[in-house]
């Protein structure tokens, strides 16, 4: 079982990203479940979405409390939300940010980090800070648990209006290409 928690703000499409990622995993013949958090998902308010992946049928339909991976599609969110709560040791963080790794305060549990200046790229592509598909590309590259091709097929099956599909395809590819992946060497616990 591989568990991912998405953090974002209402309107940024983190719930949709979780669903598209699950669809991509299903494309690959895996089992996946995506569950959104159930708050008032108003534009700008912090939102959470959960994703489980497994080679076997997934029975649990619950929130995720100890994720293997955290995808944070908003660069400002860490100020208001403890996005690392419950994260497993040796976990992976995919973070939208323009900062370099050295400037980030990361807890001990984080071992792999994928950093992407998603807002900047989103403004180039969409003229709006929609970072979700960019972050999916970054997720694929950083974790390797899903292929870029599967994500593309999941996007094709989604309900985008007009130019939306082409733009999101570009975003997915750029996220994959431009993410900076870091491994953090942790000393073994004393």
């Amino acid at each position: 079982m591989y568990e991912v928690r998405f953090h974002g703000r209402g309107g940024q499409g983190s719930v949709m990203a979780s669903g598209m990622l699950a669809a991509a995993m299903v494309e690959e013949g895996k089992y996946a479940v995506s569950i959104p958090s159930f708050g008032f998902e108003r534009r700008g308010a912090p939102v959470v979405s959960f994703l489980r992946m497994s080679d076997r049928e997934i029975r649990q339909l619950t929130n995720i409390y100890q994720p293997d991976c955290i995808v944070c599609v908003d660069p400002t969110l860490t100020k208001s939300v403890d996005i690392f709560a419950g994260m497993k040791a040796g976990g992976t963080l995919i973070q939208a940010t323009h900062r370099p790794l050295a400037e980030l305060a990361l807890p001990e549990c984080v071992s792999t980090v994928g950093l992407l200046d998603a807002v900047k790229i989103a403004l180039e592509i969409f003229k709006r800070p929609i970072t979700n598909t960019l972050m999916l590309g970054a997720f694929a590259k950083t974790t390797g648990v899903v292929s870029l091709d599967s994500l593309k097929r999941a996007l094709e099956d989604s309900d985008f209006r007009d130019a939306g599909l082409a733009q999101n395809m570009t975003a997915l590819e750029r996220g994959y290409a431009e993410v900076a992946v870091h491994q953090i060497e942790r000393r073994a616990a004393a």
């Binding site: 699950a22 669809a23 299903v26 996946a32 997934i58 339909l61 999941a154 099956d157």
Partner: protein, 417 residues
């Protein structure tokens, strides 16, 4: 044999290829509805049902579903429109929850009395007040004595498959009763999961001929008065009333058999089987059991596996068909254990315990045995019922087995978190 008949023969034996997709529970319900080919759906949005009717509207707008959609001005009219449609021969469907179901109650109670095989998905939501827009079984539980068949789903796949089966169950001539497919608001309604889509041709063969108003119709070519006054408080009046009311009860009891038959037929034609009434999980050699309903069951099964690995002899009993209450099937399961913990996602106000717990005590009485038992209430208003929660239920039920006194009050799982 010609090639065509050979192919046909082969098709009858094995289900056709099924497309694998990711769908949330509300979408799966809508897809199940489309597979059953209703003539009429009537809708009014309400959280957490809204995306279900949005999916239906889109399926119809895209021409993927050939049904008349009536956007009524409220749930009361939604069900009333469908009653009219059914009386004119339409296969009909809607979905609602919580306050919408409450508003619908007047035609809701009347639907089984007219023996109209309407299918209504309850995307379960906790009862207000206190104000909540989140999941919980209180709405469906509150109307459990209104004469509808009520089945609860565990997974998104079960939502899709059960939605189709619900029409077949409702329209069976020995049943002729409306069916609620209950799917948990939030965890099932919005939970997206891998599902396999049955082939339309397989479903068409499964459904067979449609004939929903053979017993009552509002049709100028078959004039009759529908639901005249029964005839007063003396003489034949009460006898007439009793005859019809008893008929409703017979239909409910017949449903227990028909639900099993329909699930068996589905397994044969579509290739997926679900426990129709009561599911027993790792129960055969269990000393004690926990009981679940709906989407909490998945986490509970994982918890049972872990507890088994830790040497606890615990099994699980899941109720799928809650109304009619599957007394015989439940008695068979209960006979295997010596202590019981029941998790309800709603409250039974009168007995200060979960309603499923209270109903289960009735089955134990029928069985003629006393075993220590406990009522657990959790998952109200969208709260999560997690594997650790279920471990607590397992541990406290196990304590009963070891002689601990059963509390007279329910255990509220999410009280202090």
């Amino acid at each position: 044999m010609t090639t065509a008949t050979l192919e046909k023969a082969a098709a009858a034996e094995a289900p056709r290829k099924q497309k694998v997709i990711l769908a949330e529970g509300n979408e799966a319900a809508a897809l199940g509805v489309a597979l059953a080919r209703p003539d009429m759906v009537s809708v009014y949005p309400i959280t957490p049902q809204s995306s279900l009717v949005e999916h239906l509207a889109k399926l119809i707008a895209d021409g993927r579903m050939d049904a008349d959609i009536v956007d009524a001005e409220g749930e009361h009219s939604v069900l009333s429109v469908l009653q009219g449609g059914a009386l004119a021969g339409a296969r009909t469907y809607t979905a609602t929850c919580g306050p919408g179901l409450a508003f619908m109650f007047e035609p809701y109670f009347r639907t089984p009395g007219m023996r109209l095989p309407i299918v209504l998905t309850i995307v379960t939501r906790d009862g207000i007040t206190p104000q909540s827009v989140w999941g919980g079984h209180q709405d469906a539980m509150t109307v459990r004595e209104a004469g509808w068949i009520q089945v609860y789903c565990e997974s998104v796949q079960e939502v899709l498959d059960t939605t189709v089966m619900a029409f077949k169950i409702a329209e069976h001539h020995d049943v002729m009763l409306p069916v609620n497919v209950c799917l948990d608001g939030n965890y099932l309604s919005y939970g997206a999961s891998r599902v396999e889509m049955p082939d339309q041709a397989d479903v068409d063969e499964f459904m067979g001929e449609k004939d929903v108003n053979w017993h009552v119709a509002l049709d100028p070519l078959r004039p009759m008065a529908v639901d005249p006054l029964t005839g007063g408080t003396t003489g034949k009046g009460p006898q007439t009333f009793v005859r019809y009311r008893k008929g409703q009860c017979s239909g409910m009891q017949n449903a227990l058999r028909v639900i099993e038959e329909v699930h068996a037929d589905w397994a044969k034609r579509i290739g997926r089987s679900f426990a129709p009434l009561v599911e027993e999980y790792r129960l055969d050699d269990a000393d004690f059991a926990i009981m679940t309903l709906g989407s909490m069951t998945g986490a509970a099964k994982d918890a049972i596996d872990e507890a088994r690995d830790a040497g606890k002899k615990v099994g699980l009993i899941k109720i799928k068909t809650f109304s009619p209450f599957p007394v015989e099937a439940l008695m068979k399961a209960l006979a295997k254990v010596k202590a019981l913990g029941v998790i309800d996602r709603s409250v039974g106000f009168r007995w200060n315990c979960g309603p499923m717990y209270q109903e289960t005590l009735g089955a134990l009485y029928r069985l003629g045995r006393f075993i220590p038992s406990m009522s657990f209430i959790g998952g109200l208003a969208g709260a999560d019922i997690t594997v650790p929660h279920v471990h607590r239920v397992i541990n406290e039920t196990e304590a009963l087995l070891n002689g601990a006194a059963a509390p007279t009050e329910p255990v509220w799982l999410n009280e202090k978190e």
